[in-house]
């Protein structure tokens, strides 16, 4: 009941309502109530490459038999300059994986739990005060988190699982071309560091769902109507949610019957992780794993046109690591 004590003891200082929500939510985490959300209201920081002002893209590939996905994740982050490049001491880190479906990890409908665990550990080593996993799932969140392994990861690493609930959806102005006011899953905008951690999958309408489409899981409301203009909706959301960095899980990719899949026969092992601070480049590189040309995918092309990033890899600092 620390937060109650603290909040009562501090009442000489007036707080705005928004601050008080924030404060409560920060403290709420210490109760171990995973429903609590938090973070500061700072905008996610823009990370510039330390050595050069270019954006970067790093591809990690596991080539040796029986390589460790965790080790590959660490190696990819190391070559980007370590987790310390993105996370500062005392930060609240929010990770947005794709855990839309209550499917077991093997089916590649959800972000690989090993990758998730590695990223959480990296953030914790980087000094994060709190690491949170937040996703607005399609199936019931409890079942999605449990079956995908995310709940076990949270338990083992001490990260908080933030369950989507209606009180955490707040109307915000997205200022998009197509989307205006929309309910947003608050913990994702109230973070010091926001990490997008999608899994790369086939999708029946947008053809692929990778990083930028992952933000559909960050809003509430009648989000199933977004499909009526899917590409612009994806770009509008990607414009609003600006992650510090995106790590694309392409260890196992779903090549057919996406996004929910349901059979290992749709899953191909690519043993690849793509880390980038350019949301367009990351998606474009992942699209190539599916033998798609990036410009043929509406949301990638439109995102470049609307200035979110580039799939001209020459403009980026490119790296490749193997394990």
């Amino acid at each position: 009941m620390n937060w109650i004590k603290e909040s009562i003891m501090n009442f000489d200082k007036p707080l705005t309502r928004r601050e008080s929500i924030k404060k409560l939510l920060q403290l709420g985490g210490s109760l171990g109530l995973a429903g609590a959300i938090g973070g500061s209201l700072q905008t996610p920081k823009v990370v510039n490459a330390a050595s050069e002002n270019k954006k970067f893209i790093i591809e990690g590939i596991g080539q040796t038999e029986g390589y460790s996905v965790r080790a590959l994740t660490r190696k990819v982050f190391e070559s980007a300059g370590g987790a310390g490049r993105f996370v500062s001491k005392g930060d609240v880190v929010v990770i947005k994986p794709n855990i839309s479906w209550a499917r077991r990890p093997e089916l590649a409908a959800t972000t690989n739990p090993e990758v998730l665990a590695a990223v959480i550990e990296l953030c914790q080593e980087g000094g994060a005060k709190k690491v949170r996993i937040a996703d607005h799932t399609i199936n019931d969140a409890r079942r999605c988190f449990a079956l995908s392994g995310a709940a076990a990861v949270a338990k083992n690493t001490g990260a908080d699982l933030i369950h989507p609930r209606s009180s955490l959806m707040k109307k915000m102005s997205l200022k998009g071309n197509r989307l205006d006011t929309w309910p947003v899953f608050v913990p994702l905008v109230e973070a010091d560091v926001l990490i997008n951690l999608p899994v790369a999958k086939h999708h029946s309408l947008s053809r692929l769902t990778i990083g930028m489409k992952n933000w559909i899981g960050a809003v509430g409301g009648s989000r199933y109507s977004l499909h009526q203009d899917i590409h612009q909706s994806i770009v509008d959301l990607a414009h609003f949610f600006r992650p510090t960095v995106t790590l694309i899980d392409a260890v196992r990719i779903m090549t057919r019957n996406g996004p929910s899949g349901g059979s290992t026969s749709y899953v191909t092992e690519k043993n690849t992780l793509i880390l980038s601070d350019d949301p367009v480049a990351g998606d474009a590189r992942a699209a190539m794993l599916f033998n798609h040309q990036p410009q043929n995918l509406g949301f990638i092309r439109m995102a470049q046109e609307q200035g979110l990033g580039t799939f001209d890899f020459q403009k980026l600092a490119q790296q490749k690591v193997v394990l």
Binding site: W3, R17, L24, R104, R142, A146, H203, S204, S222, H227
Partner: protein
Amino acid sequence: VKIRHLVWLRRTLQAFFLIFFLFLVIESRLPQDVYIDYNMAFSADQELRLDQPVTFFFQLDPLIGISSLLSGYTFVKGFLWGAGILVLTILLGRIFCGFICPFGTIHHAVGTFKPALKGSRMVQANLKTSDQKIKYVILILLLVAAVCGLNAAGLMDPIAFLFRSLALAVLPGLGAGLRSIFEIMAASDFKILNLAGYGAEILVSPIFGYNQPAYQTAWFIGFIFLVILFLNRIRPRFWCRTLCPLGALLGIFSRISILKLEKYAQKCTACNLCLKHCQGAASPRPDQEWETAECLMCLNCFNVCPEDALAFRFVWSLERNRQPDIGRRALLGGLTVGISFPLFARLDGSIDKDPDSRLIRPPGSLPEKEFLELCQRCGLCMKACPTNVINPTLGEAGVAGFWTPRLIMTQGYCDYTCTLCGSVCPTGAIQEITVDEKIKQPIKIGSAYIDRGRCLPWSGNAPCIVCQEVCPTSPKAVYLKADVVATSDQKSLNVHLPFVDLKRCVGCGICENKCPVRGLPAIRTISAGESRSLSNQILL
């Protein structure tokens, strides 16, 4: 042991069982921190189950055990607990009613903390009346109906009644009320208030349900619950004395109980204190003959008697106690209604001729006839369902199936890898299945069809593939064909038109649930095609 200690023992046990019951009601849902080891879950489907023995009180309840045995020829899981209660009743009388039953405890508390009657009016209200026969009529009716194939015991069984009322009406109702208070608090300008408002929301959700649950007919369930509570103001423990079929059953078994109320008439000063405190209207006064079958074993009369004119003693004799006051008319009435109810209830044809297309039963449900032989309408499956899709029926299952479970896809959907409802069903009306069985057999609960006039791409309004996207089967039962349709201004629109492959569709209803066409979705689910029925089929 002094008698005072025994009364406190009773109060302690009553409180314990009531709290345990409430705890199990609250725990009848997936917790938010449920997890499984993903190394195990990696390549094989794991079953998510509840940690607590949520069916415990249903196992303890001999009426549920006996009615299931009579109608479905099934020994329910844990029926030995119920048998144990019957043995206990043979030894100690209706000790279950006085010491254990959580519904009895609620009535006891309502009548004790705020008695509606005072002095001689209370004495008057505690005199045995012939109304108390009604419970035997109800018991006979329910048991005879069970023999005739319709198990409606759960409508009146106290455990099922209380669970249904709390889980479907009281908890969601209180939750809705509390949440609206917290919303007002959270919107306030006082810091303490809005902090407390947000915090409280987090604290109450695990108790009152994570997403505000909603249940068809919940208002009616709640209303009846309040009426039953209110009746305590007319006569204390009205339900236990007059209506409860389980009390009637235990009353019959108490005929040979060896714990007897000994009366010493010569000591009695006719102060009526025993009568004033009698819970069961069981004629405790020494000048009356003790009604064993009505006595709730509360021990109050023994406790309050200032003259030691009353005492409960173990008497090892073959002499039977006073006969339960059933009466021939009650017997005949119960028989008549008990036989005619199941027969009349079949006349709407819902079992034999025309199953309602809206009657989608939970996965693993027995065929309709067998289902009605076992379902107690307790609401446990409805409380446990993580998507809130399972609802009590109103008329969809006919009068015979009133308040039995039915899936309403606009409220939730049957999660493809979820098998929770069958695992909590106390009687096996919904069989416990595994994810593997559910997916591989597959267990179908119905099938989906598309309403092309409402469907966005079919009607030329907009592209949409949501039903196909969310379809969980592999390959997908909802499939797409690329096509060009004309819009209202005669432009052409590139769309993917959805179709349903009935061979693959399991009727889970997620397509209906997620369809962006609100109101009446453009893809809907009907019960036809359910694997539990041989006749309710579409395909060859």
